[in-house]
């Protein structure tokens, strides 16, 4: 091989390597797309260590960004949900980032962090990821947004839970004092067993041989609008198929949506919150009528150490109900204080936030926070 040929080959190899490894500007890979009349505006974006690079024939986008949003509305914002859409994965590939428990006054700014990694087989021009506004919840529970992800209901539930829990802890402070409040916070901060979860959607065409049906223990909440009648799921090895719970509407109002919290127990007797089984009947569930919460999916669980977890027994408890008129029911605090339920159910988002304030800034800061609203 001549010297000239060697030089040409070396240059070609160097160019290929450079083209594959060069980190491109990530800002062009992300498009933030808010409506013109949006009550929040993007005022800044910190790209941190974001980068986009080619790896063989695949494209890798590593996005580490913090968006700064400003409240343009005349009311305080309580929660916001952003829809994250990966262009390579439409129509199914979408995600959302929600921040509940906010108290952003008009004109104030707040950060929303989005950290994501996208790996796709080939590159096409245009942004790889689009961020849209799905909804904003205000302090009077009014809502703005396209609500494609049902974020109105989700954020309303979180806000109602926040109000319930703040009131409860204010009451604890008044009646039992600061030490009792501290004990509650320590209880929230206590380590709980965590699950790794895998969900595969779609109709189960065949359940693996050897599957067994595991019945739910239905926990009834006093005063709940729905009664859990029975429930079951098929367990095959570490895989659980199609959990379902039948309910009866014992209230005098039609129900258009409900969720059953689903708890699984392993063979060592440890209990985990596995998730929620939702139901949005085609027609609202009339008083006295029966309905079915069903998750048409296959689920796998693993303990925190990565060991596959086979559910030995399961229980269900009503988590939320949305009536046909839009009003939402969540369990009373007095019901949740039942020691059995307290052990089983995780703290709410607001409890988690209050406990974090206590952990970072101490009891005085927490008491100050509880006095705010």
């Amino acid at each position: 091989m001549s010297m000239r040929s060697k030089l040409v080959i070396a240059a070609w190899v160097a160019a290929s390597v450079w083209a594959q490894n060069e980190a491109q500007r990530p800002a062009s890979s992300l498009k933030v797309n808010f409506p013109k009349d949006s009550p929040v505006a993007l005022v800044g974006a910190d790209w941190g260590e974001s980068q986009q690079s080619a790896r063989g024939s695949a494209l890798v986008l590593d996005l580490r960004t913090s968006l700064t949003l400003r409240n343009l509305a005349p009311r305080a914002i309580r929660g916001v949900t952003l829809l994250v859409v990966a262009q390579a994965m439409t129509p199914g590939g979408k995600a959302s980032v929600s921040v509940p428990g906010l108290d952003v006054k008009p004109g104030e700014t707040f950060p929303v962090r989005i950290d994501l990694r996208l790996l796709r087989p080939s590159s096409t021009p245009g942004p790889l990821v689009e961020v849209e506004l799905d909804g904003v919840l205000f302090d009077d529970l009014s809502f703005y947004g396209p609500n494609r992800l049902n974020s109105r209901r989700l954020m309303t539930v979180w806000e109602l839970e926040a109000r319930r829990d703040r009131q409860y802890y204010r009451q604890v402070l008044e009646t039992a004092g600061a030490e009792a409040l501290r004990r509650h916070m320590l209880e929230i901060l206590a380590e709980r067993p965590r699950l790794d979860v895998q969900v595969s959607r779609g109709r189960a065409t065949a359940v693996a041989p050897g599957g067994r049906s595991v019945e739910f223990a239905c926990l009834q909440l006093p005063g709940a609008p729905l009664e859990l009648l029975r429930g079951e799921a098929v367990v095959s090895g570490s895989e659980t198929f199609t959990p379902k719970v039948e309910v009866r509407n014992r209230s005098n109002r039609p129900v258009r949506y409900f969720e059953v919290a689903w708890l699984v127990r392993d063979r060592f007797g440890r209990q985990y919150l596995a998730g929620a089984i939702p139901a949005a009947p085609e027609r609202p569930l009339d008083p006295g009528g029966r309905g079915l919460a069903l998750q048409q999916a296959s689920l796998r669980f693993a303990s925190g150490s990565g060991q596959p977890l086979t559910p030995e027994s399961m229980s269900g408890v009503l988590a939320q109900v949305e009536f046909a008129d839009g009003e939402i029911w969540i369990p009373d605090r007095s019901v949740l204080e039942d020691p059995r339920l307290r052990r089983l159910l995780p703290p709410s988002a607001e409890e988690q936030r209050l406990a974090e304030i206590y952990r970072r800034h101490g009891l005085a800061a927490l008491i100050e926070e509880l006095k705010k609203r």
């Binding site: 580490r64 990966a86 994965m89 199914g92 590939g93 979408k94 995600a95 959302s96 980032v97 929600s98 921040v99 509940p100 428990g101 906010l102 950060p111 962090r113 950290d115 994501l116 990694r117 996208l118 790996l119 796709r120 087989p121 979180w158 901060l189 709980r192 965590r194 699950l195 790794d196 979860v197 895998q198 969900v199 595969s200 959607r201 779609g202 109709r203 065409t205 065949a206 359940v207 693996a208 095959s236 969720e259 689903w262 919150l273 596995a274 998730g275 929620a276 939702p278 998750q295 999916a297 296959s298 689920l299 796998r300 925190g304 995780p346 988002a349 607001e350 988690q352 936030r353 974090e356």
Partner: protein, 183 residues
């Protein structure tokens, strides 16, 4: 209830652990049939010990030399009538080279083979997996992962449409909820 025969035999030989020995001795104190069985085992052991003792006057060195000579003679006779033996395999070099070859082969296979994501039996559609690092959606060769690198107190739950992760952002202290949908 009477103890097993093996336990009685071990007791007679003094080979039981102290706790079991103590329990058995309590039983023997009130059970004549078991006590007799233990005595029988004791007598048997005594008889065996007596059989071990060889008569006096045996020349041990001579006996050993004769036994060795007989063994050698038997082996030599076997060589004469046995089939022709193949030259021994040089197994030591093979044993050294084989693991190296296996290692190289495994490395090569891992380079070219990427195992497919294990899909649950009978299911179609995208797969959402939540782990300690984040929530990952795999669909059609693309992978979208929502990460939470600065998170503490992370809870992961299966929701109707995918997986929901709730955590405290360690930098801002704000509770953040990521939701990845598998629709």
């Amino acid at each position: 209830m009477h103890p097993r025969e093996t336990e009685l035999a071990l007791y007679a030989g003094g080979e039981l652990a102290w706790w079991r020995r103590w329990r058995l001795s309590r039983h023997l104190a009130r059970c004549e049939s078991c006590r007799m069985q233990v005595e029988e085992f004791g007598r048997g052991r005594q008889w065996l010990r007596e059989q071990d003792e060889l008569p006096p006057g045996i020349n041990w060195s001579r006996l050993a030399a004769e036994m060795k000579a007989n063994i050698r003679l038997g082996l030599a006779a076997g060589e004469c009538v046995g089939p022709v033996r193949q030259p021994p395999l040089r197994w030591r070099p093979a044993a050294l080279v084989l693991p190296v070859l296996l290692l190289v082969l495994a490395g090569w296979v891992l380079q070219i083979w990427h195992p497919p994501l294990r899909r649950p039996a009978g299911m179609r559609g995208p797969v959402v997996t939540a782990t300690a690092a984040g929530v990952e959606l795999r669909q059609g060769g693309a992978v979208l992962t929502l990460l939470h690198p600065h998170a503490s107190d992370v809870g992961r739950f299966a929701s109707g449409e995918g997986v929901r992760v709730r955590y405290v952002d360690a930098e801002t202290g704000m509770v953040t909820i990521s939701h990845v949908y598998a629709q």
